[in-house]
Symmetry: C2
Subunit: 145 residues, 2 copies
DNA sequence: TTTTAAATTTATATTCATTACAATTATGAT
DNA sequence: ATCATAATTGTAATGAATATAAATTTAAAA
């Protein structure tokens, strides 16, 4: 676990961010729990180890991380913002029942887009919605009842 | 224009929605101006012809339309919700400078997605961000100055 | 046409995620 | 240890969206 912590610290340093306790803990949480958590989830989880933690700090820290591309903000719907420490190109699936977000692999370069000839593209998002396997099974069981 | 209005009315009737003045005007606006407007844009534009119009009515009407698939809500970022009367499969480009949203054609079926084998998919979104041709030109001119 | 109930719209208040801001606390260099 | 700077906190403010109840409109029955 110490090795992990060291890598977190060096990652922050590389991004030009001084590794305060709050920052290290939040980044560590995101790297360990790749569940696209909300601010509230992070705040509640870390409050036990950092009792003085404030929601504002979580917001500030996440925005700082996003600005330096350490993490990505995931705008997936009109609910709370999600945060993702997995920054490589990938898609997001949101289950409309359990509201969990799942990563999936997708070849962005294979996207055949017309009508955007003179547009400068900075990034792309691929979002998929539906029911995850877990909830699909539960729903079926409900129907049988 | 009357023909257009009649088609709006019949479209509402088909969806099981009684064609009140507010509803007809809002749908007509969306079909005539495919600019993915916000609630505020719609409210301001229609206020001159319907002086008693309220923002709440615009919200209610748009949600009603979305529920019956007459229009689509466009969740593209953390700004105000956008509304789209173009309901066929297509992608959305948002210019980060002028904030305009542009439609583009994209073959959703060609998407090569892995890791979602047992997921039930209801719909997909493809979002692209960057600078539109108009703003790209302006930016270049600025640089020259 | 009048009546009347239901549907629609409105105005206001409320919610809730997020940000702004000022005060407090912690940190690191001298 | 001191001091300036950075980081964090708590509270207030913002703003989009919704809830609610009152007012208005509509449409059907009498």
């Amino acid at each position: 676990m110490n090795i992990n912590l060291k890598s977190i610290v060096s990652k922050l340093r590389k991004a030009g961010i001084s590794p305060s306790i709050v920052r290290v803990q939040i980044l560590k949480y995101l790297e360990t729990n790749k569940i696209h958590p909300t601010v509230d989830t992070i705040y509640k989880k870390l409050s036990s180890s950092i009792p003085t933690l404030s929601r504002t700090s979580v917001y500030n820290t996440l925005n700082l991380f996003a600005q330096t591309n350490l993490i990505k903000k995931v705008y997936i719907d009109d609910e709370e913002m999600r945060y993702d420490a997995f920054v490589e190109e990938h898609g997001h699936f949101k289950c409309s029942i359990c509201e969990k977000i799942f990563d999936f692999d997708v070849d962005f370069s294979a996207l055949k887009i017309s009508n955007l000839e003179n547009f400068q593209i900075t990034h792309k998002d691929i979002l998929v919605f539906g029911t995850c396997p877990n909830c699909a099974v539960k729903t079926k069981k409900e129907e049988v009842k």
